[in-house]
């Protein structure tokens, strides 16, 4: 086996591309895939101010690293979730990366700033922990971007994430979610533009990028995520991928190219029904947004 680009001994094999790469050529490949996604979907320009939510995990740190290398105007945002030792450790990885790169890290701490943590918030709101976590992240990432005058929120969702979410939404035929499952969600009243520059890279590739770049990240899985549906979908897709390399890419990009436009009406109907939350002003289909309802339930207990 040889590096596809330079014929030197490889360090990683990418079966979906029927290729292997040495360290230097793999890092070039990964960066090119991010640049290609940014260009392909017109994600942002050099005039934009970009906020990358970072968890201390491989995807968000890899994204922040690539965008810094490409000299975009980009800061990180760490949201402390209050999940015991896991949050303490993940925050340390994010801060260490920011210090080593001389980059700006904005921090929000749920327990300190909002008065609750994900484990207790999930119980009080009678939601699954991942549901309470996702809801809090979506709301607070957007709010932090608005407060900091950022024009873009760039998240570390990779090809595996998008394929797994697509798989789940397709099983349930959640047409309003399928209509929104795009690499770019444009800015609307109250919402900052959201982009996913890692959609052309698999999870294994973002992990390899960090290892080969010497980026330390939290390897342990979030203790609240164990056994969740999303992990089950990823496992199912990886079984298919092992038998048929390239399946995840074909599934997701085939959806974008051929099918996603069929679901935009359902998403637009939902978008048209939004009005400001009576508590925080964020767009919501009801009087009070889901995040403010969650906070109200937590503070009432």
């Amino acid at each position: 086996m040889r590096c596809r680009a330079c014929r030197r001994p490889p360090v990683i094999e990418l079966r979906r591309h029927n290729a292997a790469f040495c360290q230097e050529c793999f890092l070039k490949y990964a960066t090119e895939q991010v640049k290609r996604a940014i260009d392909q979907f017109d994600m942002f320009t050099r005039d934009d101010r970009i906020l990358v939510p970072v968890s201390g995990g491989k995807d968000s740190l890899a994204l922040w690293d690539v965008l810094l290398d490409l000299e975009y105007d980009v800061d990180g945002l760490y949201l402390g979730l209050g999940i015991g030792e896991y949050s303490a450790s993940s925050g340390a990885y994010a801060r260490d990366f920011a210090a080593r790169r001389g980059a700006t890290l904005v921090e929000i701490d749920l327990p300190t700033d909002l008065g609750f943590d994900i484990p207790s918030g999930a119980v009080a709101a009678r939601r699954a922990p991942c549901s309470a976590c996702g809801l809090s992240k979506r709301h607070l990432f957007n709010q932090a971007a608005l407060d900091g005058d950022y024009t873009i929120v760039a998240t570390g969702h990779n090809l595996d994430d998008e394929a797994a979410v697509l798989f789940g939404n397709t099983i349930r035929w959640s047409t309003e979610y399928l209509g929104r499952q795009l690499p770019v969600l444009p800015a609307t009243d109250g919402f900052v533009r959201k982009v996913k520059p890692l959609v052309r890279l698999s999870e294994r590739e973002t992990a390899a990028y960090c290892v080969l770049k010497g980026i330390d990240y939290i390897v342990d899985e979030c203790p609240m995520a164990e056994g969740n549906k999303h992990l089950g979908y990823k496992d199912a897709l990886n079984r298919i991928e092992e038998q048929s390399p390239g399946s995840k890419h074909t599934f997701y990009f085939g959806f974008l190219d051929r099918v996603s436009h069929l679901f935009t009406d359902a998403a637009e109907v939902e978008q048209a029904d939004l009005r400001p939350c009576s508590t925080c002003g964020a767009p919501t289909p009801g009087d009070v947004c889901a995040f403010c309802k969650l906070v109200a339930r937590v503070t009432a207990t």
């Binding site: 086996m1 991942c130 595996d160 390899a208 342990d220 995520a225 496992d235 079984r239």
Partner: protein, 65 residues
Amino acid sequence: MRVLLRNPRRELEVPGPLRVNALLTQLEVNRESVLVIRGDTLVTGDALLADDDDVELRPVISGGA
């Protein structure tokens, strides 16, 4: 060789020499779901692991979305 696995963290002793792909098959690990690290370097599926190697099978799947 000493093999480190994660989530949960544990160590196994596996006799070498052995190809990476054979190790993954023996341990029933999907090769799409891990990176194989020998020392501090990634290795490909056809690499031959020696009996005295330290190998990490690092999971790449994360649950958040």
